[in-house]
Amino acid sequence: MSGESATRITPGNALRPEDIAEQVAAGTKVSEDVAEYALRLGDDALILAQRLSWWISRAPEIEEDIALGNVALDLLGHARSFLTYAGSAWGKSEDDLAYWRQESEFRSCFLVEQPNGDFGKTIARQLVFSIYQHELYSRLVDSADETLAAIAAKSLKEVDYHRDHAIQWTLRLGDGTEESHRRMQEGLNSVWPYVHELFVDDELIERLPGVAVRPSELRAPFDALLAQVLGEATLEVPDVQPAMTGNRGTRHSEHLGYLLAEMQVVAREHPGATW
């Protein structure tokens, strides 16, 4: 893999999904491996955005409808950029990829597919995912692939806010009332089996040195920050076994099918239509 970005996008400019789409339309094509990697990044962001967007109009207070909506909107933006870039390998648009792939063609991890549960579980999922994503993007900004680096650079500022939001709520819930402490701990325990998958290296990662971030490298800083936050929140790092997950392959949790059925239904009623 050369150090050239396929779209020659430099950090700080031309970062919107529309700009990437424009470059792609102008003939940019990414290698299959990079596309596959971008798909992982994009699918995690897309599925989590889909999950979080459910909270809009259902959150514990109006401020949280807005905050969770913001996080979802940011993640959707990341997803659109990554998917547009990935799609250039196969001549597919972000919408082709989001609406017309089968379940087994998605590359999302089990964690983001997990149901929202109560607010405590949603915050637990946000906490682990945003700490992981923050570590990931802060290394991806140095990727030899300039497009991935540019998307990460823009997104990192947003993830910084997501992480802060999750940490603040973890502290409030952990060290709030007895009930909130119990619910937050239960939320953490229930997402914990799916944390392990985030940090597994595989062949694709081996084939993309300098381009992809090695997931196993993120584990130590993840554990360190998480332990610090949970300590301050009077919560425990869960003592829960990791689950066998999909390892970024074609296997998913049982939840993904339902999520996709809902997400894709209108688009699939109208093949070939534009919106």
Binding site: A72, L73, R80, G176, A273
Partner: protein
């Protein structure tokens, strides 16, 4: 000027202080300037505004639901992003408006409680269901559109915090209207099925959108007082006519039609006319018998109740933190 005696709220005239306050208030209204929160104001004015602003806030909050219903199903990622941002804006409008209402002395929790107990109303339009993707277009174009026609004159409302909140809200509402129109335009230029979906959405939202301006003038007893107080600037019917004139032009661009063959411009009166609306339906929905009244309230109560432990945790945590700060 001629309205000064009418403006006086008899109930409030008592002490010398009140009389001075009333004189000042009358002058502000006569000069068409602004009343601010610390100013003296008649009880009736305070009550009317509290009711109107909080109802508007409730409408923004309940109004999130029909559109939130399509966030998870939006048929393209770009539309999904736009819709999410829109529904978030509505939450923001709710917040500014609750803050504006609070400056009149009633705390947000109390106002919110009035919504949850069914004591306070919200706009009836949100008791209609959002059934297809085209409804996202029709709601933006017609519902946000009617809201703008209603609210632009409110930017000059005599109560300062309300007028200023409206300026911010109206800016965003006009984005929403444009985005809704774009959704419809895309559908209208799309497949036969998309076109039909767009027409059907317009057919369903047209009359409820016209009813957003409130009852006909002769059925709207409070409007007169609101006009004397410079809260309301135009009558319900005037605004409704203006709106019909606007949308009958715009619908041509879509190549679609409004479900009313009696729309015409009356050269003599200089006003737009339209077919009689089914006010019986309006009052039925107002009384709680619309298709979604029960559902909207249930969702709001559910969100509130499910969130109680979270809000309690936040205040318990804040209390502990401030205690720690004092000890330190």
């Amino acid at each position: 000027m001629a309205t000064q005696t009418d403006v006086r709220d008899l109930h409030a005239v008592g002490s010398e202080e009140d009389q001075a306050g009333q004189a000042y208030f009358d002058k502000i209204i006569a000069d068409d300037s602004r009343i601010e929160p610390a100013d003296w104001m008649p009880e009736g004015y305070r009550k009317t505004l509290t009711r109107q602003i909080s109802q508007h806030a409730h409408s923004e909050i309940i109004g999130m639901q029909p559109e939130a219903n399509f966030i998870t199903r939006a048929p393209s990622l770009k539309r999904k992003a736009i819709l999410m941002a829109k529904v978030q804006d509505e939450a923001g409008h709710g917040l500014y408006l609750y803050s504006a209402a609070e400056t009149l002395g009633t705390p947000r929790e109390e106002l919110f409680d009035q919504l949850l107990t069914g004591k306070a109303k919200y706009s009836s339009i949100f008791n209609y269901p959002a059934l297809t993707w085209a409804d996202m277009g029709a709601i933006g174009w017609l519902v946000d559109g009617a809201a703008i026609v209603n609210q632009v004159p409110l930017c000059r409302a005599s109560y300062g915090p309300y007028g200023r909140a409206m300026v911010r809200v109206c800016k965003e509402e006009s984005f929403h209207q444009r985005q809704g129109f774009e959704i419809l335009l895309e559908l209208a230029n799309g497949t036969e099925a998309q076109k039909q979906m767009a027409q059907d959405a317009i057919n369903r939202f047209y009359a409820p959108a016209l009813m957003m301006f409130g009852p006909n003038d002769d059925e709207s007893p409070n409007s007169q007082q609101s006009m004397r107080w410079n809260i309301k600037r135009f009558s319900n019917d005037e605004l409704r006519q203006r709106f019909v004139g606007m949308i009958q032009e715009q619908v041509k661009v879509l190549g679609l039609t409004l479900p009313d063959d009696q729309i015409r411009f009356n050269e003599e009166t200089g006003k737009w006319e339209y077919g009689e609306l089914d006010w019986n339906e309006f009052y039925e929905v107002l009384k709680g018998r619309g298709p979604c009244n029960a559902q909207r309230m249930e969702r709001r109560r559910e969100a509130h109740e499910n969130g109680a432990w979270v809000r309690e945790a936040a205040s318990a945590y804040a209390a502990k933190q401030s205690q720690k700060a004092q000890v330190a």
